[in-house]
């Protein structure tokens, strides 16, 4: 077997961590060569969808680098990144993929050495984990597919969009939501949306009954039925055929909220 060369993607914000990576170069801090860097203007630009899409396509590890909190060139971008990373981590947990494959780090423009250390550690971690199992584990692939779907769901996106404002500025009624309560809301939304997207993902590969879905997704049939009802309402799920008394559902390409 040839030596495992992990595919690691690093998204770095232009102003701090990309500059930190440059400084590592200028200072000749050596680190393992497996990482490939993609520059974005701000870490807040990184849509969780992109992370899961790349995981689905076989990335072994993804590193996101941003400015330290408070240092964002765009004032507050990295606070959003932090919230998103939380959802990403929650979702990874749900997919069953090793959580270490994703990492968020704050790296300033002066932390060249730290950048090289972070990359070294991260590469080591990924090497330890071995290649991504997405391609050989269809169940994992389905779940990561579900995660992609989750990151695109209106509810999650809207929550992520409003979370900071809700905690700091209050909602339209000026009510502030406590940090913990907000977290609960997010956790719950992630849970529900992931299940629904998992159902959709399974149903998109083959028409499935509620019972089958219940087994694969691992939740009680009555809950599956509720999700099916919601998904059908949103026109995301349709009945493919009915076998006896059992309807078999299939994901619809069109649809939406």
């Amino acid at each position: 077997m040839t030596e495992f060369k992990p595919k690691i993607i690093g998204f770095l914000c232009n102003w701090c961590s990309y500059a930190g990576a440059d400084l590592a170069g200028v200072s000749r801090y050596q680190y393992p060569p497996d990482i490939r860097i993609i520059r974005v203007m701000c870490s807040a630009r990184i849509d969780p969808m992109i992370i899961f899409t790349l995981f689905k396509e076989g990335a072994d590890g993804i590193l996101v680098g941003g400015c330290h909190l408070g240092d964002c060139h765009y004032i507050s971008g990295n606070y959003h990144t932090e919230k998103r990373a939380y959802v990403i981590e929650k979702l990874i947990e749900k997919t069953g993929m090793e959580p270490e494959r994703f990492r968020l780090e704050w790296i300033s423009a002066s932390e060249g050495e730290r950048f090289s250390k972070v990359v070294g550690e991260f590469t080591e971690t990924i090497r330890g984990l071995g290649p991504s199992k997405v391609k050989e584990d269809p169940e994992l692939e389905t779940k990561i597919g579900a995660a992609v779907g989750t990151t695109l769901s209106f509810r999650i996106r809207a929550l992520l969009g409003h979370e900071i404002q809700m905690a700091e500025g209050g909602n339209v009624y000026g009510e502030k939501v406590a940090e913990e309560e907000l977290q609960k809301i997010v956790d719950q939304a992630v849970e529900v949306e992931f299940r629904r997207n998992h159902i959709l993902e399974i149903a998109s590969s083959k028409p499935s009954s509620a019972k089958e879905l219940s087994q694969v997704v691992g939740i009680p049939p009555d809950e599956v039925v509720n999700h099916i009802a919601t998904l059908r309402q949103k026109n995301l799920l349709g009945i493919d055929h009915i076998d006896g008394m059992t309807p078999f559902y299939v994901a619809l390409l069109a649809g939406g909220d």
Binding site: C16, S27, H68, H73, A109, S110
Partner: protein
């Protein structure tokens, strides 16, 4: 007659003034004495009260300034003569030979690696090393190396020449000569910043005598990730990292006996920041700040101090102090006053907030331009209330610390203010011609 503006000093005040004028379409000649622009702010690790990474926020401005089509940046250059009047100053600038062709050097530093001469690095307050051919600091602008002629073997013995042999771009030019350039400008902005006072004469603080007594700027370079110790605090005596830090305020300042009766405006916050950063480096660090009056007067400063106390466990002790040493372990012992009685506490590192003093060449610059200095050696405003950035000489303006001790935001605001006045001047003079 000229509508150009000359800005003397490439620190944050000078950079801001230059950018403001250039963005309006004015032409700026920015003259900087050292090989890179950036000034003092480039040396800092973080800035209070946000703990922003200093170089992260400064570097884009440095780059903007250098690449701005309306700004001619003259680094390693000094103003040596000023004649004429507002609207028509003739300024002589000495462009010192850096023995490197600025246009050819790519900043790869290949030459630096091979240069055999090791010297203390000024940018790192002498804590790290640099070579005789050197990049002043990693983020320097322009990213061009400079040869320190005084210490270069080629210039001393006509031997070596390693850099010249190595440089594929043939950027090394030992025959480069200092050059005098005469520049006609309509207005001048002086923003030459400050120097750091060497606290060795105030031997009661033990600097230079006890190895583990550091100046604030030395400490700042140490905790900087791109500094000489890679961001780690290291005792000079044994290279170990400290667990107990003492910060002593007003070392040299607010002390007419040590020559500086004024307050530097920034040290209380500077030390607060440093104490907080120490804690961020290591959870177990205990810091104490010895102060005369806690001057946390800027926006969010008092809250910052409260945070340092509450969240970072920084102790504030209202007393000046002197330093002794435990000869057994080279630990500095801080002696201070509690209700009139002396108390002693052993630390393993002491950081001195030393005075930020007028530039050593402020007197020369003042004489050259013909503007007066205050009793402390800062440039004197024409009208200390309504014309802070104006000088007694028409067409010459001031910005930043060289006028009055102030912090970065105030220097930036003054950079802009001086820019406004300079533009007003050249517009007025320009129209009258």
């Amino acid at each position: 007659m000229s509508t150009d503006v000359m800005v003397i000093g490439g620190g944050i005040a000078g950079i801001q003034a230059s950018l403001d004028i250039a963005d309006k379409g004015g032409h700026v000649i920015l003259v900087e004495k050292t090989p890179s622009i950036g000034g003092r702010m480039a040396q800092l690790d973080k800035t209070f009260p946000t703990n922003d990474c200093s170089i992260c926020i400064l570097a884009p401005k440095m780059a903007d300034c250098y690449s701005h089509p309306n700004i001619d940046v003259m680094t390693y250059s000094e103003v040596i003569g000023v004649e004429g009047d507002a609207g028509n100053f003739n300024v002589n600038v000495l462009k010192k030979a850096r023995y490197v062709d600025e246009t050819m050097c790519t900043g790869c530093e290949e030459c630096v690696v091979k240069c055999p001469v090791k010297l203390p690095n000024e940018f790192d307050q002498g804590l790290g090393e640099r070579k005789a051919i050197y990049m002043p600091f990693a983020q320097a602008v322009p990213r061009v190396v400079t040869i320190d002629k005084e210490n270069c073997i080629w210039f001393i013995k006509e031997k070596c020449g390693a850099c010249k042999i190595l440089c594929k771009r043939e950027a090394i030019d030992y025959d480069q000569k200092d050059e005098e350039v005469n520049i006609n400008v309509g207005s001048i902005i002086v923003a030459i910043g400050y120097d750091l006072w060497d606290p060795t004469p105030a031997s009661e603080y033990g600097y230079g005598k006890y190895p583990n007594v550091f100046t604030g700027m030395e400490y700042e370079r140490m905790i900087n990730a791109s500094g000489p110790t890679g961001g780690e605090m290291q005792r000079r005596s044994d290279g170990k990292r400290p667990h107990k830090l003492a910060f002593i305020q007003c070392v040299g300042s607010r002390n007419p006996q040590l020559g500086h009766a004024y307050c530097c405006s920034v040290c209380c916050m500077f030390s607060t920041k440093e104490a907080m950063l120490a804690r961020e480096h290591h959870e177990d660090i205990d810091s104490a700040i010895f102060y005369k009056d806690l001057r946390a007067f800027g926006k969010g400063f008092w809250e910052y101090v409260e945070r340092a106390k509450k969240d970072y466990g920084v102790r504030y002790i209202n007393s000046d102090a002197t330093v002794q040493e435990n000869p057994k372990n080279n630990n500095p012992i801080v002696v201070y006053d509690v209700a009139g009685r002396p108390e002693k506490e052993e630390f393993d590192m002491v950081v001195l907030a030393t005075t930020l003093i007028p530039r050593s060449d402020a007197v020369k610059v003042a004489e050259m331009i013909g503007i007066p200095l205050t009793q402390f050696g800062f440039f004197e405003s024409k009208d200390r209330i309504l014309g802070p950035v104006d000088t007694k000489r028409d067409g010459v303006f001031l910005a930043g610390y060289c006028r009055e001790p102030m912090d970065i935001p105030e220097s930036v605001a003054e950079g802009s203010a001086a820019a406004a006045r300079a533009v007003e001047t050249v517009l007025e003079k320009g129209v009258s011609v």
